[in-house]
């Protein structure tokens, strides 16, 4: 329409154009300016409501004494929850058990996968795809189902594993072995995933380096130690970080459905302690305080790992 106007009456068009043009322009421009925010809005709103705002609220809850009942009053207690928490042996014990859990998982998520992947590099093609499929399967098993079947396998007297090793021992409900059982099941779930990640890491290493080294007379052992492993270090650090990040998610359902933190607190790690304080002792302030400390510790640990991966890891440039 405007185009036709232009042709028919340039003078009129000249008058209309400055008036109509900018308005159309501004509306379009305004839409273009806010469009990205509109697309982002649902995600950002959910992020704020269910992640960041609760984080702030957790800090606030950590300074009150409250039993979670909507009708009960919240009493401001300042930093009393923190000092109470730091005085609790259960808190320090749970931190120690969290460290044990993560350290206990590293053989399953780093050491064994590297050994398996390096030793089986020659296996290629269909055979490899087949093994890959089987090894990865435990990663997809629902955690509670994993807990159920392992409890059955380890059941004293009639469980398969227990009958084979013939111990008659109550692995899951014995304070000295319960934590090891949790590590074993979580490790079983993560092992295949880690092997696949290492395989992918190995596939990403250019063969030129080892060929060059071979020409120079390096033995396969030397190549592995001085070329392959350093180039694999980003993958390994990634696996360590994954272990730290996934250990709460994967171990929580096992602990909650098998041991509820017991026996005698043997499987109460910091993640389960938070849960226990909130939903079993109904001590909102204490749980929130532990949560805030966990968040700070988690952030520090992640920062260290990211820093290491940037400083130490060898990159194939």
């Amino acid at each position: 329409m405007f185009v036709i106007d232009d042709r028919q009456d340039p003078a009129r068009a000249a008058i209309i154009a400055p008036a109509a043009g900018p308005r159309r322009f501004t509306r379009r421009a305004a839409l273009r300016l806010i469009a990205p925010y509109l697309y982002l809005a649902p995600a950002v709103v959910l992020l704020v409501v269910f992640t960041y705002q609760p984080l702030v609220q957790a800090v606030q809850l950590s300074t009150v004494s409250w039993n979670l009942l909507p009708t009960a009053p919240m009493k401001a207690v300042g930093t009393a929850n923190y000092s109470r928490l730091l005085d609790l042996p259960a808190f320090w014990g749970s931190l120690g058990r969290t460290a044990t859990l993560i350290l206990g998982l590293l053989p399953f998520t780093v050491l064994l996968p590297v050994l398996i992947a390096l030793a089986s590099r020659r296996v290629q093609g269909r055979a490899r795809t087949f093994y890959q499929a089987l090894v990865f399967a435990p990663f997809l098993v629902a955690p509670v189902a994993a807990a159920a079947v392992w409890r059955w396998l380890l059941h004293p007297g009639s469980g398969f594993v227990d009958q084979v090793v013939d111990s008659g021992r109550n692995w899951v409900y014995d304070a000295s072995t319960a934590q090891a059982v949790i590590v074993l099941i979580t490790g079983w779930q993560l092992l295949g995933f880690a092997v696949l990640v290492v395989w992918a890491g190995l596939a990403g290493i250019s063969g030129d380096y080892s060929e060059a080294a071979q020409v120079d007379g390096a033995t396969p052992g030397q190549i592995r130690r001085w070329i392959t492993l350093p180039l694999l270090s980003p993958t390994l650090l990634f696996l360590v970080l994954t272990t730290v990040l996934l250990s709460p998610t994967l171990s929580f359902p096992l602990i909650d459905s098998m041991t509820q933190g017991g026996p005698a607190q043997a499987t109460t790690n910091i993640y389960y302690l938070l849960w226990d304080y909130a939903f079993h002792s109904f001590d909102a302030g204490l749980s929130a305080a532990a949560g805030v400390l966990l968040f700070v510790g988690f952030g520090a640990l992640a920062a260290v790992l990211v820093w290491i991966s940037e400083k130490v890891a060898v990159h194939d440039d």
Binding site: P143, V144, T249, L274, W275
Partner: protein, 270 residues
């Protein structure tokens, strides 16, 4: 030559051994579930004669159909919602430059630093105030924004040929139309892979349902937990219920094995 062949055989033995250790518990889970009740403690490797009595037994003790339906509803709503919301958000990140873009991007990256357990209590209070405790919606709502999905889709969209978008823009199509007629059809494989990954994660999700459905135990994961708690050592029906809790995911895996492995390994962090 001989040594090479021996080494290859050694590799096969190692991998086969690892695979056996990995798969055996899953096999035993199904094997026990399919035995006759009187054979449950048998050690024979083959569950023969087969029987579905354990399943019928489990169905008598808990509302199996209800649990399956609820779990499907939660997993599908959650995965579909995550996919849609992440699609819109990643579209904004990949196709526009705008003020605060970097900050907002960091807000998504920062999520992996916040463990669920830290935000659990405030979220419980919030859902309680909204009256969503012990409802399926309450399980779905807090999970709807998946930072992982946003970051992965953003990568895919950044790699998307911008000429196609520019051409559509010259045709005068709006950004909304471009998203649905140009971007989405071309990203279909990536969206499908991500959707499956999100569905599997949502199906296996334990933490939010455990917080929200504390009384009703209305999804399979929690139904199984409460069964383990109340029915003690009834291994037959327990394995039957456990097998149902992982069957849909394992069936998907059977069909789409390579895609699922790639999706998880590439996404790295769950």
């Amino acid at each position: 030559m001989m040594i090479d062949r021996l080494r290859l055989a050694g590799s096969h033995v190692l991998l086969a051994g690892t695979a056996l250790v990995c798969v055996f518990p899953i096999y035993w889970l199904f094997a026990t579930a399919l035995r006759r009740p009187q054979d449950v403690t048998s050690l024979s490797p083959l569950p023969w004669p087969l029987s579905i009595d354990n399943y019928l037994d489990a169905a008598q003790k808990v509302d199996v159909t209800g649990l399956i339906v609820n779990t499907f509803v939660v997993a599908i709503l959650s995965a579909a919602g995550q996919l849609l919301i992440a699609l819109l958000a990643s579209y904004a990140f990949a196709m526009y430059t705008f003020p605060l873009q970097r900050l907002m991007y960091l807000a998504f990256v920062g999520v992996w630093l916040v463990p669920f357990q830290v935000t659990m209590l405030p979220n419980y209070i919030l859902l309680n105030r909204m009256g969503l405790i012990n409802t399926l919606i309450g399980c779905v709502l807090p999970t709807l924004c998946s930072a992982l999905a946003v970051l992965l889709l953003r990568q895919h969209m950044n790699a998307f040929p911008k000429e196609l978008v520019a051409a559509a823009k010259i045709d005068g199509r709006s950004s909304w139309a471009i998203l649905w007629t140009v971007v989405v059809p071309n990203l279909r494989p990536a969206l499908a892979a991500l959707g499956i990954l999100l569905f599997i994660n949502a199906w296996n999700e334990y933490f939010w349902p455990a917080v929200v459905l504390r009384q009703s135990n209305d999804v399979l994961q929690l139904g199984l937990r409460s069964f383990m708690g109340t029915e003690g050592d009834q291994w037959g029906p327990m394995m039957a219920l456990a097998s149902l809790a992982c069957l849909p995911v394992l069936l998907l895996y059977l069909v789409l094995q390579r895609h699922i492995v790639n999706a998880f390994v590439r996404s790295g962090l769950k």
